[in-house]
Structure formats: C-alpha cells, structure tokens
Subunit: 349 residues, 2 copies
C-alpha cells in the first residue's frame, strides 16, 4: 500500500485517534501525535510517526502508561524532580518545557530532572518549542535500561548514545543542535543491520574492542560489541566526557539510574530553559547569534554545491514544505500504521 500525501492536520488527527483508541487520554494523545508529525515534517523520519506502532505495542503490554500525572518528587520553584512513571515521553516533555518556560520568564532560568519517562522522541522538536518563544532550551537524555556504548578504552557497553540538544532563536527560525555522545545511534545501527549493509566507517567496536563497520556486533553477536564514542579510538575521551555529562545531569540529578537496574524502555532527562532577557537581553542575544549564523552561511564551502548550513535550517524548510504541501510517509511506515488502524478500528486519513 503506497503512502498517501496527507495534510499535517490530518496526520495529527490520525495519530491522536490511534493513541486514543489504545486508551490514551486525549491531551496526551494529541500532544504525542502532534510532536511525532512535526518530527516527520522536520525530516527526522526515524523518530516520527514510525514510532507510533512501537508506542502502541508498549501500550498493549502495559509498558507505556496512558493515563495519569507525573509524580512531583521535589519542587523548589526553580529546580524540580519529576517521576514520569513511564507516561508518554513527548507529552511529559511538552508539559515540563511549559513549566520551565513560565518559571524562566519569571526568574531567568529553571531546570527539571525527570526520571522514568517513556521514550521522549526527537530532542530538536522539543527544544524548538522553547526557542520559538524566544528562550534557549537544553535537553540531556539517557536511558538507564540501555547499554550500547563502552567507556573510552573499555569493551563493555555501559552508556546509551546519550543525546543532548540546545535550541535558541534565530532571525528566520531557531538554531537546533541535536547530537549525542556516540558516533552513531541505536536506531541507525538497527536500520543499517536490517538493510543488510555495513557502515561506511568503523563506527562500532566488536566485543574485543576492535573497530568494525559491522552493525551486527551491537545486538546480534555474543558477546556483544558497542557503538564507538564520538572521537573513536583517536580522541574518544571527548565522547566519553559527553556521555558522563549527560548521565550526571539526567541520572545523577534525578536520583534514578543504572544503580536501580531498570529494564523497561524509558528515559531520564535533564531540561533547562534560560531567558536571554535575564542576561544581556534578547536583542543583544539575537544580534550576536544572527551575526554568527551569517558568518557560517556565507562561509566559502569545501564543495561549491554544498553551502554551509546551520543546524535547524533543514528542519525549518521541511516544516514549511509540509505545511504547504502536506507530508508523505514512507510506504513501510504507512503499512504498519494502517495495520494498527485496522486493529484499533481507526479510519485512515
């Protein structure tokens, strides 16, 4: 079945209907569906509606909670710890960002550490929510149930890829940095393995710590290998430092992590919102950063056909196009969604 081109609104309504049919409360279903569709529109297809069948499977086995509120473990007004109890991660993050933004607007900065969220999806989409309103937002994310990345010089996986993101306002659209501590990610490795191909570069280590292009070493050999840290064997102490930074912020501050040995797919998060108006001001911030963006965009490129871009440029272009022309998912994703819709009695858009 070929995927049709649908409007963003239609896809959002479809996604929300799927989650609602699976028992999710309406506000959560709407939030998750909207953010997944925005993720697709911004070009991050692995983390868009392709996630919905996985989320629905988690709901079916009781691993993603669909009703209720996070538990507020601690709240001092500027700092907080929430226990997400495996509620939908995108909804939790949208709510936490909203709280942090209102506090940052009053005090200049605010931070929330979250433990036991379900999957929080694409970080760039989340920091954009704050950057669109003039804030600078940072998100650090790890999953203490996952082990895919070894410490520098080691052979046994300890960390997840540990993504982190920063978003800040730009002249036409926000700058959205969304990177991680390892060279590649779990989903890229799975995709590469599923496609039956090798990575172009040795981005993994086998169980002996030998660099390899073979994605099978991550989950299909015993003993298992690992994904290489940013910097690989040459300067992997840098990726190691990033991995530790993300774990300290997301697990240390939330007081939950690998020590607890969780086994459910989930996440720990540290999120922070800063308001430039409590520093040198939004205008001064914009003047500096727009000048920097211009110096990057006008930089003489290595390849004439590949101008230098800012992270966030592609996302903005994709979003504008999807808003104008609608969005077409890939056929494989569409087939999976159609099967879910059939099972749940939800009409296709």
């Amino acid at each position: 079945m070929a995927a049709p081109t649908c409007s963003i609104d239609a896809l959002e309504a479809f996604g929300a209907a799927l989650f609602t049919a699976a028992g999710m409360e309406a506000d959560k279903a709407t939030s998750v569906a909207r953010l997944l569709v925005r993720t697709d529109a911004m070009g991050r297809r692995t983390h868009g509606l392709a996630m919905a069948p996985l989320y629905l499977a988690e709901i079916a086995k009781g691993s993603m909670r669909v009703q209720g509120e996070p538990q507020i473990v601690r709240d001092t007004g500027l700092t907080a710890v929430w226990d997400g109890d495996y509620l939908p991660g995108l909804w939790l993050m949208e709510r936490a960002l909203g709280v942090a933004m209102s506090r940052a607007a009053e005090h200049g900065l605010a931070a929330i550490a979250l433990r036991r969220t379900h999957h929080i999806g694409c970080l760039a989409v989340l920091v954009k929510l704050a950057a669109d309103q003039g804030f600078m937002a940072q998100i650090y994310n790890s999953d203490p149930a996952g082990r895919r990345v070894a410490p520098y010089g080691g052979t046994e996986a300890v960390f997840t890829p540990n993504p982190f993101a920063i978003g800040y306002p730009g002249a036409e659209h926000p700058v959205l940095v969304d990177i991680c501590a390892s060279i590649t990610t779990t989903s890229m490795t799975r995709q590469t393995h599923a496609a039956g191909v090798q990575f172009e570069h040795p981005w993994l280590l086998d169980a002996q710590g030998v660099p390899t292009c073979d994605p099978a070493v991550l989950e299909h050999t015993e003993p298992r290998g690992s994904i290489q840290l940013v910097g690989g064997q040459e300067y992997g102490h840098k990726g190691y430092g990033l991995a530790l930074m993300v774990e300290a912020l997301s697990q240390g501050l939330s007081g939950h992590g690998r020590l607890d040995g969780p086994t459910r797919w989930g996440g720990n998060v540290f999120l922070q919102v800063l308001d430039p108006d409590f520093f040198a001001g939004r205008d001064a911030f914009a003047a500096q950063m727009d000048h920097l963006s211009e110096r990057c965009r006008s930089n003489r490129p290595i390849r004439a056909d590949r101008p230098v871009r800012l992270p966030g440029d592609q996302a903005a272009a994709g979003l504008a196009q999807a808003e104008a022309d609608g969005l077409q998912l890939d056929d494989a994703t569409w087939q999976q969604l159609a099967a879910c819709a059939d099972r749940l009695g939800v009409p296709l858009p």
Copy 2:
C-alpha cells in the same frame, strides 16, 4: 638551567611575587598563581605556570588589567552578566564561581555570563573548585578575538576551539570533564609546529578544506587553514553543534562577541553551578554517579595494560603527588620564569 623540585607553596608564592612585582593587586596575584600551580600539579602543563611569562607580557603592554573590579552589567540574583574588562581570567572565574556557589546553595542553581575576561586558563581546575564542595559546575568558554575552526563544510575559520567543562563530586575525588568542540587545540597545534613534527592524524584542514596533518596551515600559511571540528569530515556536524552551543552560551547571553570584532586576547564565559541537594539530593547523586564510575573503572579494557579511567583520576593523582613530593617544571618553562624573575627583581624559590 635545570628546573628544581619545589613545594607547591613555594611555587605559588613565587608566582604571586612575579605578578605582584608586575603591578597586580595581591588578591589577584595570589589567586592566579595558586590556580596556575594547581593546573601544573594536575598535569595540564601547557596551562600552568608556563602561562605566567605570557601573562606578564600582556601586563607589560597593558593588555591584562591588574587592578580593579569587574563591571556588573546585570544582576537578577540568579542570573548575571559581568564585564571583566580584561582582568586576570583565573581570578575573575574564582570570584564568579564563589558567587554562583553561594547562590546555588540558596536557590539550587545560578548562572553568570562573563564578557571580556582575560585568559581563564584550565577549565578542569575551575570546575574542581565547585565539585570539591559538592556542587556540579559547568563552564563554557570562547574567545571572540580568535578564529581557528571553520563551520562544518566550510573553509574559513570562524570559531575558537570553544572548550567546555563539567565537574561533579566523586567518591574519592571529583569527575572533571574538560573538552572542546575541535579535535585539537590552538596550543597543541602551536606546540606541534614548534617541535617541527606533524600530527599523527589529519586534525587540520588546509585553506581549501583538505584534511592535513600539517600544523603549519593554522598560522603559517596564507590563506590560513583551520582545526577540524570534533567528528572531522565524517561527522563534524557534532563538533559544529558543540561550537555553536558554546558561542550561544558564552557570547549570546553575555551580549558581546564576534559582532564587536574584539582583537585582544580574552574570553567570554558562561558558568553555571547546580546544587544536587535541590534535585534528588547529594546522597542520591553520589549513589548513582559512584556506581557509574565503578562500572567504568571495572570495565574490561581493550588493552590489559590500560585500565579504564574516569576524567579527573589523573588530575587527582598528580595533585596528591605534588602535595607530597613537590613539583618540577620543565626546563624551558623554568628558564622563562627565571628570566621574568630576574627582570622583575623577584628571588627564585
């Protein structure tokens, strides 16, 4: 002249005497000397007392101010912007960390953006000041007068290496992550060039954007090349993201940066202190992070003779050894220091 082995106290007093003789106020001279000697003890010799002759030269030409206070551009209680007016960076940072720590102890977190500091030295030494007292500290640093790193896909240097650091308490000593957005640094490139050798890997780009091991391209060819971003040509979008993150925090928030076209050696900083007691608590933080550290240290190493370490382990060992046995600088540094001492009429230790 061979460098003698001196006690840490003797080296600190010697350093302070040099700066005082050059006109620096006593509190500043003491702070800068103490932090430089600690840097040496922690093994970061390029940023230790080897910096003193450079600082003294800056003082002599009026480029480092030696008296006075930073200007408080803005202060909301939790967020602040300071103009350092090119006062000694280490002293400014020690003071800013002290202010941020006392505020974080009261509110859970505090941030200060600094513009126009002089060189702030080794970030690991600075975050250690806060981590030793149970805080988590983050420092992001750029120099808008420097251009050594090009945006990903570009050929013209725009950024400095943009170091950043995070320090947090550990069971025996703090974990100290101190890394940057580029593969190598300006000082490593200068050292390599001065030694007349090449890098082992192509960590630079020539002016056309071709990877090269030749350190000369950074400052000794026209047009100049650049230092490669973390990730190089394979995944340099990650280093690019880090570079932008550091610029946004240190220049955007302080409202001063490349737009102003400064030409003096200096720095912009964003520093933040978090108190784990305002999140899940210091005990919970320690339990999680010490467990993680143990899993790293006990990780089966790739090479049996190279056990996995935590960043900060070497620094702690070096500091303990220097405290017990004293410290011997390298002969070249000692000769430069002795020449400064002779000129300023300061006795050698």
